[in-house]
């Protein structure tokens, strides 16, 4: 499983997809942290995620924490209903910056 990264408008947009479960979340974690370690702002696109469990959520939390301690931006894009209900369950829906799309994030900044 490889999660592609695209540079867009000053952000590294990481597109997670499929099942971000115990099997694949190490790859998600790696993709997220390697962008942040290059001091890039990160948006994680969840639009193609079919399933995410606590290990996938943990990768997002790690990214969030690393970004916060390094003054980088970290946000989530197009969070599906399923993913959102899991973030709510983890009480993280108010912790993460969540946008419908990258455009929405850019609008926001104006």
């Amino acid at each position: 499983m490889h999660f592609p990264v695209q540079e867009k408008q000053g952000f590294s947009v990481i597109a997670l997809s499929g099942d971000v479960d115990m099997n694949h979340s190490p790859h998600a974690r790696k993709a997220i942290l390697s962008c942040l370690k290059k001091m890039q702002h990160v948006m994680v696109d969840l639009s193609s995620v079919d399933y995410i469990d606590s290990s996938g959520v943990a990768s997002l939390v790690e990214g969030f924490q690393y970004a916060r301690s390094n003054n980088l931006e970290f946000g989530l894009l197009s969070v599906s209903d399923t993913a959102m209900s899991i973030l709510k369950l983890a009480r993280l829906d108010k912790v993460f910056q969540i946008y419908p799309s990258l455009e929405a994030r850019l609008e926001n900044a104006r």
């Binding site: 479960d21 939390v61 924490q65 209900s85 009480r91």
Partner: protein, 140 residues
Amino acid sequence: MDCNNILVRLSFCSKASRLKLMRSVIKDAADIVGLNNEQADEVVLAVNEACMNVIQHSYLMNPDGQIEVEIAADEQALLFRIRDYAPAVDSASCCSRDLDEVRPGGLGVHFIQTLMDECGFLAQPEGGGNLFQMKKYIRQ
């Protein structure tokens, strides 16, 4: 095997790559007993977390452990029993943490307790290991 209530028993090795197959059975079992999509997703997530805990904490990521998941159903509930052959777990240590503290990990037990109607370890089964049971009520 109790042929009235047991839908299927799965047995697989303690590897993360085996969880997807397990989830697809849970999803179908939930559909078959008439849970709605949201409830089915909840049940899938909870059983998945319980199996992850077995892989991580019972088998300490050793990929050669055996995990058995029994799915049973009656009119009232869908019932899951997860069996491992690892040293006995101290069930008191399986507790959920304060969620206000934002940190990675420590969500599994909270997910299970929130999403299932009943859960807990049963008496140690013959042959050793651990037996964790979860119930989701079927509400019409």
